[in-house]
Amino acid sequence: MWWPWRRKKSKDQARDRLKLVLAYDRAKLPPGKLEDLKSELLEVLKRYFPADEHGVEVRLEERGDHMVLIAEVPVQT
């Protein structure tokens, strides 16, 4: 059931979205460039193991008080 007081506060969404967009801004890393990084990374990784190119994800993520670059690469089994 939908309770008005359980709705996610819009200011929390504003804060989360800002933190993410500022992480990209500060790293001077537009999301499009991240796509380039992803495909180049994949090229290298495929030389070492059977990476599944469809499930690859590269993103910036908040870890405590700093941002980290996360790359998730599923292995083909």
Binding site: K9, K11, A14, R17, L18, K19, V21, R26
Partner: protein, 267 residues
């Protein structure tokens, strides 16, 4: 603030730079400083009309830079407050004459030769040449920000650029805060803005209809009694002068339900 040359900036337009410059400048003079407020928005002059000095403008910043008049003659003295002067922007003239070096020299002369205690520079919006010029002589900055995503994002960009220029004494002026929206979780709170931007506030100004009224009549808000924003802007000036002024509690409860909660001992 130790900085005597302070740029008022924001990146985004329409967040309250000119209102902040006019009011903080007026308040500093009211508190005893000799203050020059400078409008650097060449072509889009506004500070004169917000301060109610538009009818007394004869010369402007470009006239001074081009040597068409003396610096002293271009300064418009505000007769309502002792020690308050405006250096207006050119409304029509070619802005090419205004470059960072020449502007820095003007500010230096105001501080070192004309006996000013403080110079407040109203920067144009954006991060282009106008901002570069306005911030060139600055030792510190007031970064005006509204608790809203686009303004916070642009403020972050501006803070990065100020730091890259070696301007280090920077503070936030969080403007247009609506405590009732913060309370119901629909507006970024002061703490959120501070956390995201990593800069301390020197002013927290509530949204106040009196701001528009004061610009309608051309009388800075800090000269009018009884307005929340006016009080907050005066407090901002006091903090700039180094006074320890606690931030006012803006989250006063209003309305029917607040009254009911209070009746039942709620807070």
């Amino acid at each position: 603030m130790k900085a005597r040359a302070i740029v008022v900036t924001s990146g985004k337009g329409g967040v309250g730079k000119t209102t902040t410059t006019a009011n903080v400048g007026t308040a500093l003079a009211h508190l005893g400083e000799k203050v020059a407020v400078i409008d650097v928005d060449v072509g889009l002059r506004n500070l004169d009309v917000v301060m109610g000095l538009e009818s007394r403008v004869v010369f402007d910043l470009i006239d001074v830079i081009e040597g068409k008049t003396e610096l002293k003659k271009a300064l418009v003295r505000d007769k309502r407050v002792e020690g308050l002067y405006l250096l207006p922007a050119a409304q029509t003239r070619d802005k090419e004459a205004l470059d960072p070096e020449r502007f820095t020299e003007i500010v230096r002369r105001l501080l070192e030769e004309e006996g000013f205690d403080r110079v407040l520079i109203d920067s144009p919006a954006g991060i282009e040449k106008g901002f570069q010029t306005a911030s060139a002589p600055a030792e510190g900055a007031l970064v005006v920000v509204n608790p809203e995503v686009s303004s916070v994002r642009d403020a972050d960009r501006i803070i990065g650029m100020l730091e890259a220029k070696g301007i280090k004494e920077n503070y936030l002026v969080i403007n247009r805060l609506r405590p009732e929206m913060v309370k119901r979780g629909d507006m970024l709170a002061v703490e959120d803005v501070i956390e995201i931007l990593g800069l301390k506030p020197i002013g927290i100004i509530p949204e106040d209809e009196e701001v528009l009224v004061s610009t309608n009549v051309g009388e800075p808000l800090v000269l009018r009694k009884g307005s929340l924003a006016g009080k907050a802007l005066l407090d901002t000036a006091r903090r700039i002068r180094g006074e320890e002024v606690p931030f006012a509690d803006l989250e006063t409860k209003k309305g029917f339900w607040a009254a009911v909660r209070k009746l039942f001992g709620g807070s």
